[in-house]
């Protein structure tokens, strides 16, 4: 049993729903108790879809358990087929149905439907949503394409150099983070370098489209959590190479283009040169109009401009799915000049890659799906900005730290109406704006550092976010102080004891008063550094002098 306040992923059958809902012509019969239809809301509300997900639930109740629940499965399959006439049927269980073991997939297969039936085995008590989506996509593709897999070691015919290369984009699903706009942005990138798109799957595709997958020259594994298993199988079965770079960030987008150039054997040097040449800091009409044609991001110039200098060394903590975390770490450090003080993912399948990045920055990766563990790590690292999921917004609120969302799980505000990709050139623009926005603006940061007793611009207040220095911001400020200085467990508002003060070190009154003068967002870090400094030197009471001694030794 695992205590959780928030879960990073849903159960695996929600992953299967994400595949079914992303596609056309696929129907999913889910053996599940009454109430599990809540998952429809993820699609109709969070993603604001205009139709019901293609899912039929058996919705058994307690009174059915004494009877023949297997018969309910067969009725549901039959009725779903008659009503929706899908081209392919997925059949599976939710967590409760898994306990009563009706084998719905096997039952459905034995019913003689005139369409392929994919039986999904998704262990709900050990696996989660992304795994469910990945498995579902893999089994669906495999079921459809197995009959046409060529004999082993059949060489793939070489592409006619007069025909433009063709790619499949694999991975975008319903409920994915910004998948809708990422696809458009990637299509633009591909058009720029002369690559045609064969199939985008599962988003928007039909089973017939999946049958055309082998026609492409290579596969772009856009969301590895969903697509890597399928891409690997396609590579093995049809000899299609995999493009593994995920184009989030300016550098990654350049690498993505370069990788495609190599795999597809095409010249991409012009596109790469364009991305370097045009920084778009120039506002003349010709440039503004040419910027309508992608080819470069504004991020490099924005980030180089002096207004961004104060971003240097901002301490950032990154958490989310592995793909977005890896991309964010690179952007944060190489494209925005932040300092990485924490990194982690809930995607255990990609733990190795995340650990490597952590190692490069001299920190330890948090590989966990335990919200409380992540919360504790963030409190300990005392960052100035958290880049995470909807769940990190809860943590950041409690700790009073600015936060931006970079990865699923998300809520309705992260499925915006406006064009907001994360990938490609425009994606980098979107990211620059959304990550910088929660930080205190430079001038305000300076002034609050200088004058502490302003009646309007109070501690922790960020006037560009329109929060009045009301009780709200004061409470947050107090909460943070509290969280940071919490040394006793009677701190009742706090669920996780935030990193404890080091044993045997106390703050003198003047030391503590001086600590309060340290700008809000770095105070936690200074406090921890000073305590460690004192403890290492056997100092038991921290005075003003100790504080500055520590600062001189350690720096910020």
């Amino acid at each position: 049993m695992e205590l959780t306040l928030w879960t990073y992923e849903g159960p695996p059958h929600v992953g299967a729903m994400r595949i079914a809902t992303a596609m056309e012509g696929v129907h999913y019969v889910l053996h599940a108790p009454q109430g599990d239809t809540y998952a429809d809301l993820l699609f109709t509300m969070i993603e604001r879809r205009d139709r019901r997900p293609p899912v039929t639930y058996t919705t058994f109740q307690a009174r059915d358990l004494g009877g023949d629940t297997a018969e309910m499965v067969k009725t549901s399959v039959r009725e779903a087929y008659d009503r929706f006439k899908p081209q392919v049927m997925l059949v599976g269980e939710s967590c409760t149905a898994e306990l009563i073991q009706d084998q719905p997939g096997g039952l459905a297969k034995s019913m003689g439907l005139p369409i392929p039936v994919v039986s999904l085995e998704l262990p709900a008590y050990s696996k989660k949503e992304n795994w469910g989506a990945s498995e579902t996509l893999y089994h669906l593709v495999r079921t459809l394409l197995l009959p046409v897999v060529p004999a082993p070691n059949t060489p793939r015919p070489k592409r006619d150099p007069n025909i433009r290369p063709k790619a499949n984009i694999i991975g975008p699903t319903a409920l994915g983070f910004r998948c809708r706009d990422d696809i458009r942005e990637v299509l633009k990138l591909l058009a720029e370098i002369g690559v045609d798109v064969n199939v985008v799957a599962p988003m928007g595709s039909t089973p017939d489209d999946l049958l055309r997958i082998p026609n492409a020259d290579f596969n772009i594994c856009l969301y590895p959590e969903i697509a890597l298993t399928t891409c690997t199988w396609l590579s093995r079965s049809f000899g299609q190479p995999i493009i593994k770079t995920v184009p989030i960030g300016v550098g990654a987008t350049r690498d993505f283009i370069a990788e495609i150039g190599k795999v597809a054997d095409i010249d991409v040097s012009q596109a790469l040169a364009r991305s370097h040449a045009d920084t778009l800091g120039n506002w003349d009409a010709a440039r503004v109009s040419s910027s309508a044609e992608a080819g470069a991001s504004r991020l490099p110039w924005y980030s180089k401009s002096v207004d961004s200098t104060y971003l240097t060394g901002k301490r950032v903590f990154i958490f989310g799915d592995a793909t977005h975390v890896l991309a964010a770490a690179r952007m944060a450090t190489e494209e925005l000049g932040f300092t990485l003080v924490g990194i982690g993912t809930y995607s255990r399948e990609f733990a190795r890659e995340v650990r490597e990045v952590a190692k490069k920055h001299g920190i330890e990766a948090v590989i966990s799906d335990d919200y409380l563990a992540v919360e504790a790590k963030i409190a300990e690292a005392a960052p100035e900005l958290v880049l995470g999921t909807q769940m990190e917004r809860h943590i950041a609120k409690r700790l009073g730290i600015p936060c931006a969302v970079i990865s699923a799980p998300i809520h309705v505000q992260d499925v915006p109406a406006r064009y907001s990709p994360q990938m490609g050139w425009e994606g980098a623009n979107v990211i620059f704006d959304s990550w910088i926005h929660p930080l205190m603006m430079g001038l305000e940061e300076h002034l609050i550092g200088m004058f502490k007793e302003d009646f309007e611009f109070a501690e922790g207040h960020m006037s560009h976010l329109h929060t009045v220095p009301s009780q709200e911001s004061r409470r947050e400020s107090v909460a943070t102080d509290h969280a940071i200085s919490s040394t006793n467990s009677s701190n009742q508002a706090v669920l996780t004891p935030v990193a404890q003060a080091i044993e045997g070190v106390t703050w003198s009154a003047d030391g503590e008063a001086e600590l309060k003068k340290i700008p809000f967002f770095v105070r936690g870090k200074i406090k921890r550094n000073t305590e460690k400094f004192a403890s290492d030197r056997g100092i038991t009471s921290i005075t003003v002098e100790t504080l500055y001694d520590a600062k001189a030794q350690i720096g910020q």
Partner: protein
């Protein structure tokens, strides 16, 4: 062969009220959803669901759009190890509760909430609650109820939660009125003022705003239901000596008057004093309601089953707003709690109990109602098909009871129509 989804022929239950009983796919919430409003009502309580990742996902999908510095609910997620042996699961539960209470010393009442998985593997949470309660007494009270989908539908979660508190209510045989069912704080205050004016009292509200302040119950307790979904709670309160005052529910002017009158009669309040107390708010409410009546009169309404508020709402919509009722769906009907309301529906109203959602959608599309009351899984798809909807969950989250909310209630149904009138895109 009770399992084949089947459509039984209408059965007469009261003169002119046929009930269409259906079985098939049900598009409803499970009782765990009750946590979404109960955690706000009782701020010193914590709701720990014992279930699967699905349960955790449900609650956070519903409530996670609010950003919590201090979450007031969580899930003990069962793993494969827990499914292997029950003794182990009990130890695990103790460990999780320890962990939670150590970190949240402010919790006064902890609800262990059962789910489908915990019910199917027959994890005895009642016993666990008892065991843990003994350990943590008197600092923390630990109670148990089931919010599982196999046993409860949406608002029945509140019924189960309140039901679990009944045995620990203090005993008192003195006369008193207990208003049962979650009400918005502002509505509670209004009712309290009205009862004071009439001289009805003492009045207790159940659930209380803090789980620690439990109302007393005994032979002198008279129960007035503010919500229609409290079947089990009422029966356990009656078992503790309380008397039920059957009444229509306080939705709309008529409903509120009938509801207050039920209490006034039980307290032998004389007619003039009653009239005097209700006259000002009734007068106000009539003026306010009239505005929306103009928008709603003659329009057709179709209500999908969701919260059991459907019959009282339909009564309000037809009698006070002049709407025509196409179909009134209920997840289930408890005659003890619903007869007074059913009697007020226009003769011949089609009431359905249970659901086969695809067939019900067929009927709904066929009837082309002006407004469809349904859950969020259906609302946007119906809107996209050109039909105005009122999502039903809002009715559980909004202050809708009492005189001063009668117009607000009507407005909830008029708003989607008004919106359609305004939008030109």
């Amino acid at each position: 062969m009770a399992l084949e989804p089947c459509t039984e022929l209408p059965v007469k239950i009261t003169a002119d009220i046929p009930v269409l009983k259906e079985r098939g796919q049900r598009e409803v919430f499970c009782g765990l959803t009750g946590i979404v409003w109960l955690h706000r009502k009782m701020q010193d309580a914590f709701f720990l669901v014992v279930g699967s990742r699905t349960c955790a996902h449900l609650i956070q999908s519903a409530a996670g759009v609010m950003i919590f510095a201090e979450p007031r609910f969580g899930t003990a997620i069962l793993g494969e190890r827990d499914l292997a042996g029950l003794a182990d699961a009990n130890e695990e539960l103790d460990r999780v509760v320890d962990q939670l209470l150590e970190r949240r010393p402010d919790i006064g009442t902890l609800f262990l909430v059962g789910s489908c998985p915990s019910e199917v593997i027959k994890l005895d949470l009642a016993k666990a609650a008892e065991r843990l309660s003994t350990r943590f007494f008197p600092k923390v009270r630990i109670l148990n109820y089931s919010g599982s989908g196999i046993e409860t539908t949406f608002t029945q979660g509140e019924d189960a939660c309140l039901g679990s508190m009944v045995p620990v209510l203090p005993r008192s045989d003195e006369a008193g009125l207990m208003v049962v069912g979650s009400l918005a704080d502002v509505v509670e205050d209004q009712f309290r003022r009205l009862f004071d004016k009439m001289g009805v009292g003492p009045v207790y509200f159940f659930p209380p705003r803090r789980a620690a302040n439990l109302p007393p119950v005994g032979k002198g307790t008279k129960l007035l239901l503010a919500q229609p979904f409290l079947s089990d709670t009422v029966r356990s309160l009656v078992a503790r000596g309380a008397t039920l005052l059957p009444s229509p529910y306080p939705l709309g002017i008529e409903g509120t008057t009938a509801w207050l009158k039920t209490a006034a009669d039980a307290w032998n309040v004389d007619a003039s004093r009653f009239e005097e107390a209700i006259e000002p708010p009734v007068k106000r409410a009539k003026i306010a309601l009239d505005r929306y009546r103009q928008a709603l009169i003659g329009r057709k309404a179709f209500l999908f089953p969701d919260s059991q508020l459907e019959i009282p709402l339909a009564r309000f919509l037809s009698r006070e707003c002049g709407m025509e009722l196409v179909e009134v769906g209920m997840p289930y009907i408890d005659r003890l709690l619903m007869d007074k309301e059913i009697a007020l529906l226009p003769a011949g109203t089609l009431i359905s109990e249970g659901q086969d959602v695809d067939k019900q959608l067929d009927r709904c599309r066929e009837a082309r109602p002006d407004i469809t009351v349904c859950g969020l899984g259906l609302a946007n798809p119906l809107e996209a098909a050109g039909m105005a909807t009122k999502w039903s969950i809002e009715l559980v989250f909004s202050p809708i009871q009492g005189y001063d909310q009668a117009a607000d209630l009507a407005e909830l149904f008029a708003r989607p129509l008004e919106r359609r009138r305004r939008l030109t895109v």
